[in-house]
Assembly symmetry: D2
Homo-oligomer: 92 residues x 4
């Protein structure tokens, strides 16, 4: 990952960390259950954004390198990983 | 898609179609709501399996061809599509 | 479910059935993989809508009856089912 | 939430917080993209567990109170919230 993307990803994760602490506070202060669930959903959406960014970067670097390379096993490995990551994301 | 994979995908989709008709019958016969929801979840899981198969095939054909090809725009297009499909799958 | 809601749910399921047949045709005609995946995602979204309607109806009938009733076991059973259905829906 | 459940939920959230910090470290040390995505998926699964616990508690307290109560608007509000939380969880 280039320095700029790395900084952006870290910034988003720091924000998720703060958001989780916010939810802890809500629990401590007996906030309304449905509001807490809403905040956790927002955290999960933010994490989806981070995953999408990381995958995008991965596709444009590791995957291109592996697919254009001469090592057929490595190519196969990298493409299978993408398929697995997708399948993991789509469990109902 | 080769003939064998195509036949397998079609077989799975025919099975999904039958499963949907089964759920219609459950609704007509006033089956218990939670059982109906369970069957719909099973249909969605079967569709996830179909999507994963199609993506796997896509990665091993179109994506390899585009990434190894000389057309930078086409390569970019194909990789962005994968990123989009993944993002669509991960909405919370 | 009242007659009107039942008719609406059946209409949606019939539409899903037709949509699945459309995807089969796309496979037979070697449509572009990413387009097929997009259509399957649309089917899953339509099924989510059906599940949400059924759950909504369930909450307003079976759940109210059970929770207001005198049978503590039945109440517990019905509420646990809602919790399970939710958990099944949120698997990452 | 009773004191024991509250402590358990807070313990889980603290663990999620630590897990997010672990992912930040992975990013800083240029860990392999697919491994990072795997860890983020684990965090999201842990958050699903927390959401399920909170909903379960909500069903057994607020929902029972509202549904057994005499205020029809409040009953409607609480049941609609459950339907909404479910729908939010099932977006494809």
């Amino acid at each position: 990952m280039d320095i700029k993307k790395k900084a952006d990803t870290l910034r988003r994760l720091k924000s998720v960390e703060g958001h989780v602490r916010g939810v802890e506070k809500m629990i401590e202060e007996d906030a309304y259950c449905i509001d807490v669930i809403g905040q956790i959903q927002a955290i999960q959406a933010a994490l989806n954004k981070v995953k999408a960014q990381i995958l995008d970067d991965h596709l444009h670097h590791c995957v291109i390198t592996a697919v254009r390379g001469e090592d057929a096993d490595e190519r196969e490995r990298v493409l299978s990983e993408i398929a697995e990551v997708y399948q993991a994301a789509t469990k109902v």
